[in-house]
């Protein structure tokens, strides 16, 4: 019985969440913040991984990242809605809905075409955002400070509370996602990745599964964007720029599509590499980031998830 409990996704996530919440008390503030940001990026990566299970990679998740961020930001500045939990939730739903609308346009395409069309969508949004002066144009705008169930935390604890909220919400999302992966459409997605036509010959729709995956990925990306905006207190059209999307793809390829926690680890790794190379090599951080990208693609081509799997399999055999 206890062993069975250990294998239960629900229990695992609760344990992991509490572990992170406790760890958060002891680590310095800046690291709490970096992890919160990594969670935001990881959420978008999780969306890409959902798509990757169905054989697609979106090079334009900046699109949904931006929509989520602007949704949270505009609700905050225009409607005075500052509750972080509510903002994350609304961004998730709204961006998912936007995803559902554009998914049928994209779901017909595969491989590089899908990647490039999604990228084009994000660039169109970028073009629109820098044009709208009412919401700050290219400068973006500042978000009001968040509240939590009507309470505004004091400044010393604001970072930690947002961190806890994001850990819990991400935990819930990860549990739901695990259930989705194990459901029939989740399995069909894996089959679509292998052989789409055969899926059609089994009477299931690759198109529908792709639309569903894209919608979920959009919702996750929106939530990530909202979290990123709330954490930073500022958003700008850079959220939707192609270089931002490139980072998301990198996170998901670094993580591989086998494991959910690996995504967040990959996001954290990228955040740390970027931040520390920017700190110690301000002139050449792009070079370091680029080399890091190439090396990790060469040496762990199927992602951290598989890398650790191999490592532990080896240990077990010894």
């Amino acid at each position: 019985m206890p062993l069975k409990l250990l294998n239960n996704v629900f229990f695992q996530s609760i344990f992991l969440m509490s572990l992170l919440v406790v760890v958060g008390i002891f680590i310095p503030n800046w690291l709490v913040f970096v992890i919160t940001k990594a969670i935001a990026y990881g959420l978008v990566g999780l969306g890409i991984i959902t798509l990757m299970r169905g054989g697609l990679v979106s090079f334009g998740q900046g699109f949904v990242f931006g929509i989520g961020g602007y949704t949270a930001g505009l609700l905050g500045t225009q409607a005075g809605l500052t509750d972080a939990v509510l903002l994350l939730f609304i961004s998730f739903i709204f961006t998912g809905f936007v995803g559902l609308i554009i998914a049928p346009l994209l779901a017909r395409y595969r491989d590089i075409f899908f990647a490039m069309l999604s990228l084009a969508f994000s660039m169109v949004l970028y073009g629109i955002l820098i044009k709208i002066d009412a919401i700050g144009g290219s400068d973006g705008f500042v978000l009001p400070e968040s509240t939590y169930f009507g309470i505004k935390p004091s400044k010393e604890y604001a970072d930690y509370i947002l961190y806890v909220v994001s850990v819990i919400m991400t935990g819930i999302v990860s549990i739901l996602l695990r259930y989705y992966y194990d459901s029939t459409p989740g399995l069909i997605a894996l089959a679509v990745r292998e052989n789409e036509l055969r899926v059609e010959y089994l009477g299931s729709s690759a198109f529908n599964v792709t639309v569903l995956n894209f919608t979920i990925a959009a919702g996750l990306g929106g939530m990530g964007g909202a979290l990123n905006g709330i954490a930073l207190g500022h958003i700008d059209p850079e959220f939707t720029y192609w270089t931002t999307s490139g980072e998301f793809v990198f996170i998901s390829i670094l993580a591989g599509y086998l494991s959910v926690p690996a995504v967040f680890l990959a996001a954290l790794l990228l955040e740390l590499v970027r931040s520390f190379s920017g700190r110690y090599f301000p002139d050449t951080w792009q070079l370091i980031l680029g080399v890091f990208l190439i090396l990790s693609i060469i040496f762990i081509p199927s992602g951290i998830g598989s890398f650790f799997k191999q490592l532990f399999d080896k240990l077990k055999n010894k």
Binding site: N7, S138, D139, K155, I235
Partner: protein
């Protein structure tokens, strides 16, 4: 088992990263004064702004630490405390900068942050700065909205905002009797370009209501190709063409426009036209009216402090300083004065951020570009005197700036409590020229 594996991975990675960087946070012994300097070190704004600014800053910090700066800056470092500076790249957008800012404050535990060229960054940072209660000096960016739309406790700007540049140019055009019956503009499509054009065109309309506005072009920033824009401007036959382009965009615009006779056919004004002069040298066109966003570089005043700085920079880097190094030096000097004023008050201890902020508010100090007064934004936003000039060739064929007109700070800056754009629209009430 998979579950424990993941826990282990996550926990160990967090542990490793914490432990490996714990040195960074603990190494901080708070004897000297540590500042983060944020400026463009990569991307298109690095060469014209970020790098020369940081060159000026680096030089001044070195000389300050050695105690080789003339009075009133002759005390070593900041009030005897050695200055250490951590340079950070400003490129990557406002969102990235907010994160870098947090890293500087929370991880590196700097005592103050000096930085920001881009208006977008200047709009984003102050909110976070106050939230983290981190002393922040904005040294360059142009937008007037930072202290017009909000007020901050720990944020100061030691340079005048962009309204001054364009008001002064409008005044110059009229005083010098230029034909302003029609004007056109080419400015970048973001806050800086749009604000600059608005300030300029409204000022002209106020001073000469009959002048006609022709093209208002807003190419995107860093586009680098202006062939079409140049054709459109030539077609419009406007008497005066205004531009707030800067850096590579300005250089490319000049290179593309000059062979097409652009500068001979129309009177061009560049509101921030000086910072590409060291790079372009004699390729810079003649007869252009330009500002340097202050009395900087070729339009700097003949004071001992300026002569000292101009020479020190020239000796170190082999080119003359344009506005960016002046502005960073101005920021550093302001910070130094505020710290030393606070130390005079607290008996010579290292002042905390509240003491420095209090001393900074309303501070006046002499910089190479003239007297800087923290008069706007309830003592957080500086005003400074300005100068406008016109390029010409000297007898050796070198480009120089002549016909310089100097403006008092209070002549081209709004008084405290009035937004720049309202002041212009109202016709400059209370201007003291």
């Amino acid at each position: 088992m998979k579950f424990f594996r993941h826990c282990l991975i996550l926990a160990s990675s967090i542990l490793v990263s914490t432990m490996s960087f714990v040195g960074v946070t603990n190494a901080d012994d708070h004897k000297g004064f540590k500042i983060g300097v944020v400026t463009f070190l990569s991307g298109p704004a690095a060469e014209p702004f970020g790098v020369p600014a940081w060159n000026g800053g680096k030089l001044l910090i070195k000389l300050l630490n050695e105690g080789k700066v003339p009075a009133p800056y002759n005390k070593k470092g900041f009030g005897g405390m050695e200055i250490t500076a951590i340079p950070i790249d400003e490129s990557g957008g406002a969102t990235k900068q907010v994160q870098e800012f947090r890293n500087l404050v929370q991880r590196d535990k700097v005592d103050a942050v000096l930085g920001y060229v881009s208006s977008g960054d200047c709009m984003a940072i102050p909110a976070v700065a106050d939230e983290l209660q981190a002393l922040t000096v904005l040294y360059d960016c142009g937008t007037p909205r930072v202290f017009e739309d909000a007020s901050y406790k720990y944020v100061f700007r030691t340079a005048a905002h962009a309204a001054m540049d364009n008001i002064a140019i409008a005044k110059y055009l009229i005083e010098k009797g230029h034909d302003i019956s029609s004007i056109a503009g080419i400015n970048q499509n973001y806050a800086w370009g749009k604000d600059s054009w608005k300030d300029f065109s409204v000022s002209i309309k106020k001073l000469s209501p009959n002048s006609e506005i022709k093209n208002e072009l807003f190419p995107k920033i860093f586009s680098g190709q202006y062939g079409t824009e140049i054709s459109a401007l030539l077609n419009s036959k406007a008497k005066v063409v205004h531009s707030s382009l800067w850096g590579g965009d300005l250089q490319s615009f000049i290179l593309q426009a000059k062979p097409r006779g652009f500068f001979k056919r129309t009177q061009v004004v560049f509101s921030a036209g000086d910072q590409v002069m060291p790079g372009l040298g004699n390729k810079y066109p003649e007869g252009v009216i330009l500002g340097a966003r202050g009395q900087y570089g070729m339009m700097a005043p003949d004071t001992p402090l300026n002569n000292w700085f101009y020479k020190a920079y020239m000796d170190e880097y082999g080119v003359f300083p344009a506005q960016p190094p002046y502005r960073m030096v101005q920021g550093l000097m302001g910070l130094k004065m505020a710290i030393e004023k606070a130390m005079d008050k607290n008996g010579g201890k290292k002042p905390n951020k509240d003491e420095i902020a209090e001393a900074f508010t309303g501070l006046e100090f002499e910089a190479p570009g003239g007297l800087v007064q923290m008069k706007l934004g309830n003592g957080h936003q500086a005003i400074q005197p300005h100068a406008i000039g016109k390029t010409a060739k000297d007898k050796d064929g070198n480009i120089i700036v002549t016909d310089i007109v100097r403006y008092k700070a209070s002549c081209v800056n709004p008084p405290n409590g009035i937004k720049a754009v309202d002041w212009i629209n109202a016709g400059f009430p209370g201007a003291d020229c």
